[in-house]
Symmetry: C2
Subunit: 355 residues, 2 copies
Amino acid sequence: MKNIYFTPGPSALYPTVHGHIQEALEKDIFSISHRSEAFKQIYRNTVVSLRSLLNIPNDFFIFFLASATEAMERIIENCAADSSFHFVNGAFSKRFYTIANELKKNPQKVEVEFGNGFNFSNLTIPDKTELIGFTQNETSSGISTPLENIYEIKRHYPEKLVAVDIVSSIPFVDVDYSKIDCTFFSVQKGFGLPAGLGVLVVNRRCLDKSLALKKKNLNIGSYHNFLSIKEQGDKFQTVETPNVLAIYLLGKICEDLIEFGIEKVRKETQLKAGMLYKFFEQHKDFEPFVKEKTFRSQTVIVVNTTVDSEIVINKLRQNGFIVGTGYKEYKNGQIRVANFPSHRIDDVDKLLDCL
Amino acid sequence: MKNIYFTPGPSALYPTVHGHIQEALEKDIFSISHRSEAFKQIYRNTVVSLRSLLNIPNDFFIFFLASATEAMERIIENCAADSSFHFVNGAFSKRFYTIANELKKNPQKVEVEFGNGFNFSNLTIPDKTELIGFTQNETSSGISTPLENIYEIKRHYPEKLVAVDIVSSIPFVDVDYSKIDCTFFSVQKGFGLPAGLGVLVVNRRCLDKSLALKKKNLNIGSYHNFLSIKEQGDKFQTVETPNVLAIYLLGKICEDLIEFGIEKVRKETQLKAGMLYKFFEQHKDFEPFVKEKTFRSQTVIVVNTTVDSEIVINKLRQNGFIVGTGYKEYKNGQIRVANFPSHRIDDVDKLLDCL
């Protein structure tokens, strides 16, 4: 029996991935030149499918990077001369802040305790802030920040750029791109793909900012600065030799999800999240870590365990179910269960039966 | 009939890659957590196999990046505060220089015409230079710089760090690591693997330099600065979610090459290069672009064509052989033929028969 991976990423492969990889081998996807027409066709297809699936407007540009972590670095390099501001409520939002610090951008932050949501009243963001960073779905704590709160911040500070990490909520999360400036994600979570690709979606204002910094002779990075990626991207090309397979597979999975129906994906995600939270609320050995329902992630369910989580994880593993540990210091007291499009209702049923 | 790719990268897959990918699918390599023991085992295995195959000493550290282009950026960020020097003789050595420029490191260069080697007499490198960059095998022009010349520069300037791009000569090139400070390559060329992984090999002096820059509060990059990668690497971990498949496959191919015998790989490479150069020297429609034999790359053979190269390339394609075009402005007047371990003597024979 094959294991079912409910880990928060890398996670279960989307069921069609095996077939797409076989096809890639047959079609010599691994050997074609990244400067060939065949590659340009792949690039174009992936951009078109992704735009269609996620409803990304034409005035937003899609960039392929190596990871979501790289996306954080490139956003900081290209969207802030010396002042970013971060909403920190877990390991990944903290990393966004840390990267800004490492790149000498004097970041500021509002920070709440692990497992909490933000209180948006009485919040002031310094005037000089150029870029505001959100982690919409904290993979470490299972906290989801409502999009409305993020849009509201953008309405209050229209001159500042707003960047939103949707790494572990995409493609469930339905972003209104007109109300933010930039989002990013990786593919080994909700898309059920092999790791090794980050996707960054930026609007014209981000490009303008990058150009303004360049004109001031500031360091906006080298081969992966926004202007270089955009210039190549306009020709359906990348600056460097990219992870061709990953770009190919992302396009294929987008087509599969379009065929399945994105609304159906979203409804099923909510249904499965409901099943999971209800089960853990009622079980004597478990309780959802996030108390306030508004902040509960629908895609990464974090659960406190009364016994050492290792016992739970091992028991599940013996039955073919792999779930995630708690994040770092929460390793032994929590488990994390991913709820991605790859996870069928039937799989969730079986997991809960086993628990 | 399957095509045989003689393109200079991406190129033909090493014959065992198909099987390794199937095994990766069966063993859930795509789904395992990059924080799991299973991943650490893969990481460790790849480092050990690579070290063994390439004879990399234990005091050199192996870093996994996304591409060789990224390696150039990270070297510049971590090994120079404000002064690098570059040997430029083609598109990729030029890129190394350009990246240093983009990162505001005031690079200087010695530049020779496309297709020429360097004259190392009467060469002065400024005192303040911290880092010297070489592209040992220029994939754009087919020029190879003899390792002895590079070692000689290091002997003359022992205090400066010497970084050597061996992207398209590895694993043929046999580097004496004690005579340089850092090398880098990608895997879609000589290793016959899917694109999407860069490998950077650095010694302690590079790490010390990175630390010194950090202590001066200079920007050495964020998640992929040398110190962060080293810290995680010591635990057989990566900073970000990496291209797990690529790291896995690299380890497997290193094992395969060790079994085949690296000396045999090198001998066969020379034999095939000899066949190719001899053929093109004697053919009325072709001539090797690089005139001086000392500078002729054994792994990327660049050939002038008397007719438009498109005609040659299309003719070969009809017979199942894919060769590369000339680089950029040389596109129509040259072809490039790769000679990697994936290309068997028999394949080269067939290609030459067809020509």
